[in-house]
Symmetry: D2
Subunit: 333 residues, 4 copies
């Protein structure tokens, strides 16, 4: 009953997921590995007793591989996901699903043609305990219909290769997926506001405020601050008609010292979301074993791409951008 996974791409994230699949979670084994850097792939494979393949395509079609994990460079995602669909194998693709709307649509077409969901995209917030509890409160009707959501996405710093657009495509894209899931509806418009720049951000427009309009009229504001030094701080409050619900502040310890009581803000996304990644993969493994795939779909990957494109357009144009999305195939309803 073990799910045998083949991993394409053994960079930092690939290695972390391999560690997860082999030493943390139940029911999976990593039996096959490949990477554009074959030496690195060999090293990783040796450590866990897996087979090395020269290419992702070979790995995908091998009968020893039950399911595929794509953690390679973004521009290569499309071909591996399409190959996995062609082979009829479940595939977990780290975000982004593909680097263009068109590529996402090709994946959707292939999956629809196959007739059954095989693809899951790595939006892990849906697996976070706090976000799940927040959604449960919203769905329960306890705070009335949701009208607004306030979000903050703060990073202590970003690497030097971080570009202007990445505030959307790399950072706010998590909120883009999250609110679609939280509200159960699509985003129809984006606007970006440009506050005074932080000295910590150099040439970047940092922070910025992303406004998202939901199909049903709710408005989401997302503060994106990626050089705020003090910690990795993800917050969200849904404002309903009769009350509000927010992600809790969950420090393991409260310290009283120096005229303060204080709790901990996580240092980085690993500290904040490590448990969510574990849940995400355990549910994926369990789903694959039981014959299904239930997490964020190709459609979710496509929708994130379309909204991100609109928001990037908003950055450039400085105005509201309408989100133009295709028709959603029945497979994803």
């Amino acid at each position: 009953m073990t799910v045998n996974v083949g991993v394409i791409g053994v960079g930092m994230i690939g290695k972390d997921h391999i560690r997860r699949l082999t030493t943390v979670l139940a029911g999976a084994a990593v039996v096959a590995v490949t990477d554009v850097n074959l030496d690195e792939a060999k090293k990783v494979a040796d450590g866990i007793g897996a087979t090395v393949y020269s290419t992702g395509q070979e790995l995908i079609v091998d009968d020893a591989v039950d399911a595929v994990l794509v953690t390679s460079w973004g521009p290569t995602h499309e071909e591996y996901v399409l190959a996995a669909i062609a082979a009829g194998k479940p595939v977990f693709c780290e975000k982004p699903l593909a680097t263009s709307q068109e590529a996402c649509l090709r994946i959707i077409d292939a999956e629809v043609a196959f007739g059954r969901r095989l693809v899951q995209v790595g939006y892990m917030r849906r697996y976070d305990r706090s976000y799940r509890a927040l959604k449960a409160v919203v769905d329960s009707g306890e705070i009335g219909a949701p009208l607004i959501m306030h979000c903050t996405h703060r990073n202590p710093s970003v690497p030097s290769h971080y570009t202007k657009d990445m505030a959307i495509t790399d950072t706010a894209v998590h909120e883009i997926d999250m609110v679609r899931w939280m509200f159960g509806e699509e985003i129809v418009g984006t606007t970006v506001l440009f506050p005074r720049k932080s000295k910590n951000g150099g040439e970047l427009q940092d922070p910025l405020i992303l406004l998202l309009e939901m199909e049903g009229g709710a408005i989401i504001d997302v503060e994106v601050s990626v050089n705020i030094r003090y910690g990795y701080d993800i917050r969200g409050e849904v404002v309903g008609e009769d009350g509000t619900a927010a992600l809790g502040e969950s420090s393991p310890v409260t310290i009283r010292k120096n005229n303060q009581f204080s709790g901990r803000v996580p240092e980085d996304w690993r500290e904040r979301f490590i448990a969510a990644y574990d849940v995400e993969f355990q549910e994926w493994i369990d789903g694959v074993r039981d014959g299904g795939t239930y997490g964020p779909s190709s459609w979710d990957g496509y929708a994130a791409a379309v909204v991100s494109d609109a928001a990037v357009e908003s950055i450039k144009g400085g105005a509201r951008t309408s989100v133009k999305m295709g028709e959603k195939p029945d497979l994803y309803k």
Copy 2:
């Protein structure tokens, strides 16, 4: 050394301030009272041993009156404030200073001509312990330069005469004054966003989000929700370059019951700001006695009017409105 105050207008707010001046604070006496409803004025005067005047003008010029408190209907504020200036007497005017920018400018002109500050406008948030502590943190530089401020202004409900514009002129006007004071600079632009309407708000556009742009580039977002049922909830978080500071959540008691730990949200503005009103008036009395007036000025009253007008325009037009303010006289620098 007692400051003898004459009160114009003994409606709900006038009565509350008379109670404050006579039974809570040190150093003041209410010696004169008038109201458009003279019978009511007489009743109030009898209770505290004050003299009744037929008109505000008579009250203002009487030598027994050291300082004037204007708590009458908004459209009458201008004439009483001008009369107080003409009489050379300190005057505390509840917001708004006057009902038009032009009227505010006439007051400014008169005060400038008089050559010394006499007028204080009733923006009491500047006297709230939490807002003061927040401003102290911002001014200390501890969180770096302020770039964004997130505000929420929530009311459980509003009376039936509450109109669309009052979301700005009655509600968000408090944040308009507060952020000018918090950031020490003017507001240069306003935009209003319209989320899906709450069922609790009837015909009103409720909630709405007001965006304010500061001179120095900071952006303020203000959620205005005036029928949110659950309580009166005023929050604010200043986002700086290196950290953030927010109004604390100050419940007197934490209760653990029914699988919850919980604290209290105030029921209404009285519960939330009663201490701030006390401080506001104590400082005004002390200032009058010592020969000065230090609180929110005519200029602050004017600026609030100009920004409110722009925001109301934003509601109507649905677009960004530039705030066009006159030159600030030296008296207010």
Copy 3:
């Protein structure tokens, strides 16, 4: 309608209350002053236009004095309070009421003989917003019958003249009065536990844990730590049959910096209880003006003395000590 107060003792606390009565609260004037140090008394009197008296006895009997405030050295309290009773004047006596149980009983006898309450003792926690809210929750029955109360009384440091017994007589005596009021019943037994000593406390037994047994069987534990450096921290949680209620943690601001979110712990008792002192004296003034005295009574002062004596005995003997209290006169029921 102004209450004219005569103040006996113008040390640090006397001066602070004079400031309060003259510049903070409504309805009072300080018209008479005396002190063992007459020069100091003159200086204070000059500043506020009051008369200086050579002795407390002279001050008390002067017709210009409506009510007496005793803030002199503890051992002198008894004679001044007795003189005020003899003069039939309301008297506010800072804690302790007197320095022995017998002295307290003499005051009670005098007051009972006079036939009406005149004495109020300065236990100000009963006027603190949080303690009042806590008592309201307990009294409401919301958490069921109270069974336990956990208290902490932490000081950053104590002066060099602070002795072993003062952990009870100066520090925990506040909790002793507070729990009698909170539970509405007497304390019947005391025990003191001696944890490992703090290096910060030198020769003192610091911290210690005081256990109090209530008439009805509830147990109170009080941690007394008077050199804990980090701040002045007063906490309390009442454990009921169905839930608990605790003093809230009320920081004006929450700061997010250096991987922490943090709020403020007060620096000292002034910061923590300044508002409670204001309420205490406003209610006393209002009561005196309206002909009554309602706060902590001579009986409360006596009971605190009896329990403190038992607890000091527990420190010496290291064992449980029974609290032996006299019969409560009807005047205090």
Copy 4:
């Protein structure tokens, strides 16, 4: 590299651990099962493809079993643990290690004779994220030397077979183990205080307060309330010389409704400690695979028994009881 586990006892806890080993954690398989109720054992074994054994002794000696998990009835623990030691196999024994001090000593003697640690006892608090963070703060010296610890252990209710002694042996025993670990030293004395009884506890002495004295002089107070209705609430605050550190309050969501902001208190021990159980077993599996056993030892099981016996004696006698512990063998240092 899979650790093949044999499970003795498939009651509620046994089943839960089997679920954990087979569907949550990496690196283990349950290959053998037995129970006093063989039918039940067969049902469980069928579900996971394990072999059923008639007795624990047979299971332990079978070569297919790498490590043993004892989750049978307490009185049977000793013989299974001794058999596992005799077989030289790592054994995880749910608490208690054995039902008497003497039995614990027999296990210690056997393990010492074997010459290497094989036994781990199921005290899972040491694996809880909050307790670990708390210990890290204490160990860092950040709050100075620890002098006091305040603990609360609250259950919403207990089953009808819960007896007076179980307040210690079943409930407070968790704190007994935890503080030995937190302070890194032994407990030398116990006292039990009896507050007024809760109506919810029927004949039970509920709540009670357990006082523990540490070797180094620190004092621990533990409130044990097992019918408090409102939730399962485990708290702890270590008081150091210069500050304090407490378990955080970690609600996934904060809700604002009905004049309250509120967070969740767990419903039961499963909700509160499920993650700790997972960590406990993952570390045990990893340790067994790598040839070691690192968690709570036979000595810890013995010490918990000795302290529990003293505390039960304190309940009966109502007085302080000295804890008399044997010499600690080198194996456990």
